[in-house]
Symmetry: C3
Subunit: 420 residues, 3 copies
């Protein structure tokens, strides 16, 4: 199957559209502080809300869902309001919220507001601060967001299973006083899945052999790019609810600073320049930086197996071996089998290989100069001097002539005395 | 078996008591700076000491021990003076100490003072700075603690095996000048174990599939709670000697700052607010914060498999499958087998399931509102406006009426236009 | 086989020598800012360069190599210019460089300059910013190093495979204005390998059971020590390109501060004292400190399985069991088998055990006081009041009499009332 960037963008265009509509009521609310600016959620959306009696009202539905991790791989997961991660809850500092949670799952659940100073009884720990929400029931949580920041929500009941199956979401609380800054404010939540090749059910028992890694529920090439104009101030709010890995997120061509955690703002004097931010399990890490130069800059987890898609980790290591005909033979008896090939795996990304049913190849999207041999927790920050709008992919960036790496000419090699 | 909080507390009450008695001599010592205040060690104790000729004298015995990780799970481990982790060594800045180490193990050992500026010859690296301590022998270490701080001790001989089996301990050196601050000063050392279900011997070869996680040698519900009064200043000294995982320790309802590492104090300007502190292998992380509000606030490693107890990671993933009668049938042939169940694992915590001999269920302690579906590296910070004393569990906290999450009434749903 | 420190040092002496020669041309260059001082690369070397027309010219050759991880273990890896990691690229802030890359591998490759602000077209992402470098081709990269710092280079084509096989290197850019400081400036790059016992081919599919860990491509006892004189200022530039683990590097007897990352310098007010620096995947961490006291101070990854060499993680746990004759019997049918022994593994390091062909024992180097039971990512910082020169191992340090841990005498035990 040929994947085009266009098909990928579809989803985020929809998300973008629905986002505006959904926020209509909120924007029209008279009694509460208006949200100064909305965060942008690539491949995702904001949780709709309405305001009544000075309280912002939300409704979360915990439910089994069909979810596409990337074109070609659809799973049965658990999420909120039809998606995983759930829609982003957006509010304003000091705002009082009432959040109804309906349990449409086959087992008990609850919702914990990670990092939020909710009253003890609203902390959402099943058995401890409240009775679990039994299947079919709807609970009411009500509290005020006392501080601005980036937080998360997730079940605190059979946590290991429910988080593994996709139940998590982000919370963004904007400061009361709009700082009037023009900033592109993005939210990216990571997750790691174990999807045995050929199946459509995440394995919640997986501890260390995750094979599909996602940003906002999508694995590359399913990830929608982040967009910005040269010189723009950019904020990215990363969230990680695990299950198990601390992800080092690297951005090409830029340095950034961590400006806040789910605990609060990082004092300017304590900020450190980095090109890779480690996002430990159970934390949010918000970074800020300025778009330095035009380009389609990669941003990805630097753990090499996390920038890949499904692979057969039980496969034999064939580097350097003679495997003529091996694939063909093994394919007959072991459909899930993927050989590394004797010369590395690049070849797999370039041949139009037949994939096992409902699975995605380890590598690849056709880029402007061949196949981009990446997958998983990988996306692009597309910077242009000018963008058409906030949700339309500008396509591929072409650097000015003579500024790209190319094959050296014989004259150059001779001039510099290079013997290949 | 029904686990009650009472049985759990027993151990820590004893520890508390013995702590006072044991410190008698030290407190009575005339020649040395008195220790301003003792640290508190949930589920643990302080290493007794006596002072002679201005030197504080300790005696560590490295030995095989029987140890209860949680009610229902007892193992044969290696530790110091009958426990794992070993008793906390407490001293004062500038104090000269003499530490005798007796090797009652079947193999060579040594003791390294992690983070301490000991003279090179006292650094405790077997084969390098000293001969190994052969079984049956007693070695003498002597040096002065030149700086206040939180450090650790562990063998530097067959390190992988001996640490995996439980040989580690914490060191707290108080500043010479008592700061006169009233602070609740806690010490928590983490560890990760691989205890195959039905066995009683930790597997030192385990690299990434640990199934019992502990704070001070106990897995929830075996962990004694930390106690404080509203407004109290609290210090928690976390230590992690591995073997392999960097643990993200999360506290509900509060933010804190890391104020020191085993390298020294963190300058105030460099402190960052967090709700989760990452404690890398081979480090201590000391955090401080103020008890914000009454409640039984969870504190746990946020890696989901680390807030669980023993589980069969080889089990099949049965989410969504029809497993009627499967448990019963498989149980006959495979005693260790634990099915996830078709609807998640919550059910396991609620039914009084028959456990394999010497093993603990994945989830659970009966709480005030049902079963708390947690285990492993999970404990509670119990804050009350007033406590009876420092070692008596105040029981469960009940939030004021109307401040807890409950099922939404029909009237509420109608008023807010919520369709479950 | 008996390993002596001498054989080990051989390699680094050669590296040291070649280093001087290779830098000859660079030092003689008139048109460019002279490099104030060279970094030192234990077990490694600097990439030779020449200057022409004000541009510093380098040539990297990506190629399969034979590489010795430690005496007794030679593998077939992929690297640059005959080594893994590749030679260190050293330049000066503001300097323009031209780097030719020849692909002598059997598959496509490219080179990404991690942390460097290269023009987009020179960023080295195959398929995205450039066409991949096909086997046999030579590409030209050209850009200016706009900032001083510690960066890295690696392929951005079939990244998972190529990095796992050893393709990576460090980049050091010195500040334009020589700070005239006298500092011992070291570069150490970590890597983790899965080398099934008895084989010579790293397995790129390994995700979490790495069994050979290295600093600059060498596992202890193959690691050359770092040298310094008491009172010297020391800088160590750590780099980690994974594949998967964030390594906590611990130094005995000292504390240090992280002074910069691949993102830039850490402001003095934000620096934190540590004895263990966590080096996440995809980052560089540069620490500085002062040599405190003479000794052979260990520096190692504190994850216990990372300070070990090859081990059979599938072996049964025999701690406490009666294994008389077991080794001998199992050895006949399973050559790769290594028993833990009933009393721990120390014994293995002390007996001159027969190793499987092309493999290294889990533990060990014969030290001044017996076998040092360590391996993997472990080295020594050898501090002396005075050193002969920068590349000659001063041998073992002997602490002054009476300053080392020794067996307690009967008189001492009696005096202090210690009952062993």
């Amino acid at each position: 199957m040929t994947i085009t960037r266009r098909t990928v963008l579809g989803s985020s265009l929809l998300a973008g559209a629905s986002l505006i509509v959904k926020q209509g009521p909120a924007a029209a609310a008279p009694k509460v502080t208006p949200i100064s600016s909305h965060v942008m959620v690539p491949n995702g959306s904001l949780l709709p809300s309405k305001v009544s009696g000075g309280v912002r009202i939300f409704h979360l539905r915990a439910e089994p869902i069909k979810h596409q991790l990337a074109p070609g791989l659809e799973i049965t997961a658990w999420g909120y309001n039809g998606s995983t991660p759930g829609p982003v809850i957006e509010a304003t500092e000091g705002e009082r919220v009432r959040i109804y949670v309906t349990n449409a799952l086959p087992e008990r659940t609850s919702v914990h507001w990670h990092g939020v100073f909710a009253p003890y009884g609203m902390d959402g720990v099943a058995g401890l601060t409240q009775a679990p929400i039994e299947p079919g029931k709807t609970f009411r949580y009500e509290f005020a967001f006392d501080r601005a920041g980036t937080f998360m929500y997730h079940p605190h009941a059979d946590e290991m299973t429910q988080i593994a199956l996709g139940m998590m979401g982000m919370i963004v609380v904007h400061p009361k006083r709009a700082q009037g800054e023009r900033i592109r404010d993005y939210v990216l939540m990571s997750h790691e899945w174990k999807i045995p090749i050929g199946t459509s059910r995440p394995d919640p028992l997986a501890m260390n052999d995750f094979n599909v890694l996602t940003f906002n529920g999508k694995a590359f090439p399913g990830t929608a790019p982040l967009l910005a104009e040269t010189g723009d101030r950019i904020r990215i709010r990363f969230g990680n609810l695990g299950p198990m890995d601390h992800h080092p997120i690297h951005l090409h061509g830029h340095t950034f600073e961590m400006v806040s955690t789910d605990g609060g703002p990082v004092p300017p004097a304590a900020r450190i320049p980095e090109t890779t931010v480690l996002v430990p399990v159970g934390t949010t890490r918000t970074v800020e930086f300025t778009a330095r130069a035009p380009g389609d800059w990669p941003m990805h987890c630097h753990m090499t197996h996390h920038a890949m898609n499904q692979m057969g980790h039980d496969s034999a290591n064939l580097i350097g071996a003679d495997v003529r005909g091996l694939d063909e033979k093994l394919g007959r008896v072991a459909p899930g089998y993927m050989t590394m090939g004797a010369d590395g795996m690049s070849e797999m990304a370039h041949m139009r290989m037949e994939q096992p049913k409902n699975s995605i190849s380890m590598l690849g999207l056709k880029g402007p100069h061949g196949v981009i041999e990446m997958g998983g927790m990988f996306t692009l920050l597309k910077i242009r001097d000018q963008l058409a709008d906030a949700t339309t992919d500008p396509g591929w960036y072409e650097p000015p002539a003579g500024t790209a790496a190319t094959e050296a000419t014989a004259a150059e090699l001779a001039r510099d005395g290079i013997v290949p």
